[in-house]
C-alpha cells in the first residue's frame, strides 16, 4: 500500500511539474528550466555537504566537465550523441575518483582545498582550450540531436529536466535510506565511531564524492542544451557559494530542504533585484548567518515543525 501511494505521489509531482512547462511563456520557461538545474545541483550537493559532511567546492566544475565533455565529443568531434553522453559522464566519474582518492585520505579542509584547486584548473583549461573549448567565449551553435528520430524540443525539453530532477532525487533518497546513507551520516557525525562500527570511512567518502559529482556532471549536460551555449563563467567559483547558501538556508542534510532552498534563493533575486539591486547578495548573506545561528535545520525544519504540529 505504502509503495503504491508513494509511486502515485511521485507521478503526480512529475506530471504537475511537467504540465507547468506547457503553460509557461518563453521567458518564464527559461527561468523555470534554470531553476530545475539549480534544484538538481542542490540535491546532489546537499548529499555531499549535508549528509556526508564533506566540504567540497568542485560541484560546478564537474557540471562544467559534463557540459563541455558532451558538447565537445558530440559536436566538435562528431561522436554519436549516446556515446558522447556516456563518455562525458564516465569522465566526470573518473576525475571525481582521482580528486577524491588523495584528498579524502586527509582530515579536515584538504578536500576543500583540493576541490578549490580542481575548480580553478577546470576553468583555466576550458578558458585556454583554444578551438576545442572555444576559449573564454565558449561554444555555441549546436543543437540536441534527434534520438531515434525524436527531436526533444520546446516544452518537452523542460519535461526532460523535470525527469532529471526526479531521477536525481530518487537516486539520492534511495541511497540515503540504506546502509550506505546511514554510513554517510555516521561519518558526518563521528568518523571514529563510524569506523568502529565497521564503516570503511575512506571508501564511503570516495564513493559519495564520485556519485554526487557524476550527478552534477549529468545536470551540466542537461544545462548545455537549454540555451545551446556554454561558457566558462557559469562553472566558476561564484556559483558554488550560491549553491552552498541554498543547501544551508533550505536545511542541510534534507532533500526537501535542498529543493526549497534552491527554488527560494534562485527566485528571490527576481523579486529583490528591482527593489535593492545587487544588494540582494547582502540579503542572502544575512539569511545564511541567521539560519546557521537560529535555525540550523533551515526552511525544511520550519516545514517539519508545521507538519509535526498538524499531526498531533
Amino acid at each position: 500500500m505504502r509503495g503504491v501511494r508513494s509511486t502515485l505521489v511521485w507521478l503526480a509531482a512529475i506530471v504537475a511539474a511537467s504540465a507547468l512547462a506547457f503553460w509557461l511563456g518563453g521567458y518564464a520557461t527559461d527561468v523555470y528550466r534554470k531553476m530545475l538545474i539549480w534544484v538538481a545541483l542542490a540535491l546532489s550537493y546537499n548529499f555531499l555537504f549535508g549528509i556526508v559532511g564533506q566540504v567540497a567546492f568542485s560541484h560546478f566544475a564537474f557540471a562544467g566537465v559534463g557540459a563541455y565533455g558532451v558538447v565537445i565529443l558530440a559536436h566538435k568531434l562528431g561522436m554519436p550523441f549516446g556515446a558522447a553522453l556516456v563518455l562525458a559522464l564516465a569522465l566526470c566519474a573518473l576525475l571525481a575518483f582521482i580528486v577524491a582518492l588523495p584528498s579524502t585520505r586527509l582530515e579536515g579542509f584538504y578536500l576543500a582545498l583540493a576541490t578549490l584547486a580542481f575548480s580553478q584548473l577546470v576553468i583555466v583549461v576550458i578558458s585556454e582550450g583554444g578551438d576545442l573549448t572555444g576559449g573564454t567565449g565558449g561554444i555555441a551553435n549546436y543543437r540536441l540531436p534527434s534520438v531515434f528520430g525524436y527531436a526533444i524540443r520546446g516544452p518537452w525539453y523542460t519535461v526532460l529536466l523535470v525527469l532529471l530532477v526526479a531521477f536525481t532525487l530518487w537516486t539520492l533518497r534511495r541511497l540515503d535510506y540504506s546502509a550506505f546513507g546511514r554510513a554517510c551520516r555516521a561519518i558526518r557525525d563521528n568518523a571514529v565511531a563510524a569506523a568502529a562500527m565497521g564503516v570503511d570511512v575512506r571508501r564511503v567518502k570516495v564513493q559519495a564524492f564520485t556519485l554526487t559529482s557524476t550527478l552534477a556532471g549529468l545536470a551540466g549536460i542537461a544545462y548545455a542544451y537549454i540555451d545551446n551555449v556554454i561558457n566558462p563563467p557559469v562553472f566558476g567559483l561564484e556559483n558554488i557559494f550560491l549553491l552552498l547558501f541554498m543547501v544551508i538556508v533550505g536545511g542541510s542534510g534534507s532533500h526537501v530542504g535542498a529543493i526549497v532552498g534552491a527554488v527560494f534563493l534562485y527566485l528571490a533575486p527576481f523579486v529583490l533585484e528591482p527593489i535593492v539591486g545587487h544588494g540582494f547578495l547582502l540579503v542572502f548573506g544575512v539569511l545564511v548567518v541567521l539560519t546557521i545561528l537560529f535555525r540550523p535545520s533551515g526552511l525544511a525544519g520550519l516545514l517539519n515543525r508545521r507538519t509535526a504540529r498538524g499531526t498531533t
Binding site: R182, A195, Q207
Partner: protein, 266 residues
C-alpha cells in the same frame, strides 16, 4: 567456555615516543567470558583496547582473533570480523535517531554497495529487514522502547551509555570491548547494565571491559587482569585479585580490597 581463546594477545608492546604505554602484555579471552582490565589511571588499559580494536598498530607483539592475526589491520576491518567496542565517552551519531544509530551498528551485516542498493537487490532488502528486526530487539533488550524514534540528543547520559552498548551489539559481534560502561550511571542503571552484560556473555559473546567501579565489577567479572605502568601485575578470579597484596598496594587500597573480597564471597 571452550578451550581455544577467541582473542589471544602475546608480547603486546606499544611505545609512544619515549613512553612505553603497554609492555609485553599477554592475555587470552574465551567465548562467553567476562574479562576485566583494571588498574590505576595511565596503566595502559585504554591503549590496550585501542591496540586490539586497531586504532594503533602495536610496536611489538601479536593479536590473534579466531586464529588469525589482526594486529595492523584497520579499525573497520577488525570490526567487520566481529569485534565491536564502546567508547569511554559517549560517541553517538548526534544527527540521527536512536534506531538509525543502532542500525549503523549493523553496517557489517548489510550490503552497502551503492549499485546494489540502487538496483534494489533482494539481498539488500532482506538484510535491511533483518537489521531493523535486530535493532528493535536490542532496543527492548536494553529497555529503550520509549525512545525509539527520538533524536539521540534527547537521551539521558545513562541512556546514551546503553545506546553505545546496543550499537556495538547490533553487528552480532563475537567479541565486545566495553570501555568503562558503568561510569556515570545511577545504581538502577548499573544493575540494568550488569544484567545485560551477563546476558551477553551467556549468549557466548566474549566480553572484555575496563572498569573503575569495583562494587560493580567484582561480582560481574569471571577473571580480572590488573595493569600497572603498562605491565600485567596480576591475573585471576576476583577473589584472588582482591587479596593480592601487590594489587592492593598498586590500585585497590586496603579498604576497597577488603570490601571487594567480602562482596566476592557473598
Amino acid at each position: 567456555m571452550s578451550d581455544n581463546p577467541l582473542i589471544a594477545v602475546g608480547g603486546l608492546t606499544k611505545h609512544f615516543g619515549g613512553l612505553t604505554a603497554v609492555e609485553d602484555l599477554g592475555l587470552d579471552l574465551f567465548p562467553g567470558e567476562i574479562l576485566a582490565l583494571i588498574g590505576p589511571n595511565g596503566a595502559g588499559k585504554t591503549t590496550t583496547f585501542n591496540l586490539i580494536a586497531g586504532v594503533f598498530a602495536p610496536s611489538a607483539g601479536s593479536i590473534m582473533f579466531g586464529g588469525a592475526r589482526i594486529d595492523g589491520l584497520p579499525v573497520h576491518r577488525i570490526a567487520s570480523l566481529g569485534l565491536m567496542r564502546t567508547f569511554q565517552h559517549n560517541m553517538p551519531f548526534a544527527g540521527m535517531s536512536l534506531t538509525d544509530n543502532i542500525l549503523v551498528g549493523c553496517h557489517t551485516r548489510c550490503d552497502s554497495r551503492p549499485l546494489d542498493i540502487l538496483l534494489g537487490r533482494r539481498r539488500v532488502r532482506d538484510q535491511e529487514a533483518a537489521a531493523r528486526r535486530r535493532a528493535a530487539e536490542l532496543i527492548s533488550f536494553l529497555g529503550l522502547q520509549d525512545r525509539i524514534d527520538d533524536h539521540v540528543s534527547t537521551l539521558s547520559f545513562g541512556e546514551g551509555r546503553l545506546l553505545e552498548l546496543a550499537r556495538a551489539l547490533a553487528g552480532q559481534p563475537r567479541v565486545i570491548l566495553l570501555d568503562e560502561p558503568a561510569a556515570g550511571l545511577t545504581q538502577p542503571e548499573m544493575a540494568r547494565l550488569g544484567a545485560a552484560i551477563r546476558d551477553i556473555a551467556a549468549r557466548g559473546i566474549a566480553v572484555l571491559l575496563i572498569e573503575h567501579d569495583m562494587h560493580f565489577l567484582f561480582p560481574l567479572a569471571h577473571r580480572i587482569v590488573v595493569l600497572n605502568f603498562g605491565r600485567k601485575i596480576a591475573e585471576g578470579e576476583p577473589d584472588g585479585i582482591a587479596r593480592d597484596p601487590e594489587v592492593i598496594e598498586a590500585y585497590l587500597g586496603e579498604a576497597v580490597g577488603g570490601m571487594a573480597a567480602r562482596q566476592g564471597h557473598a
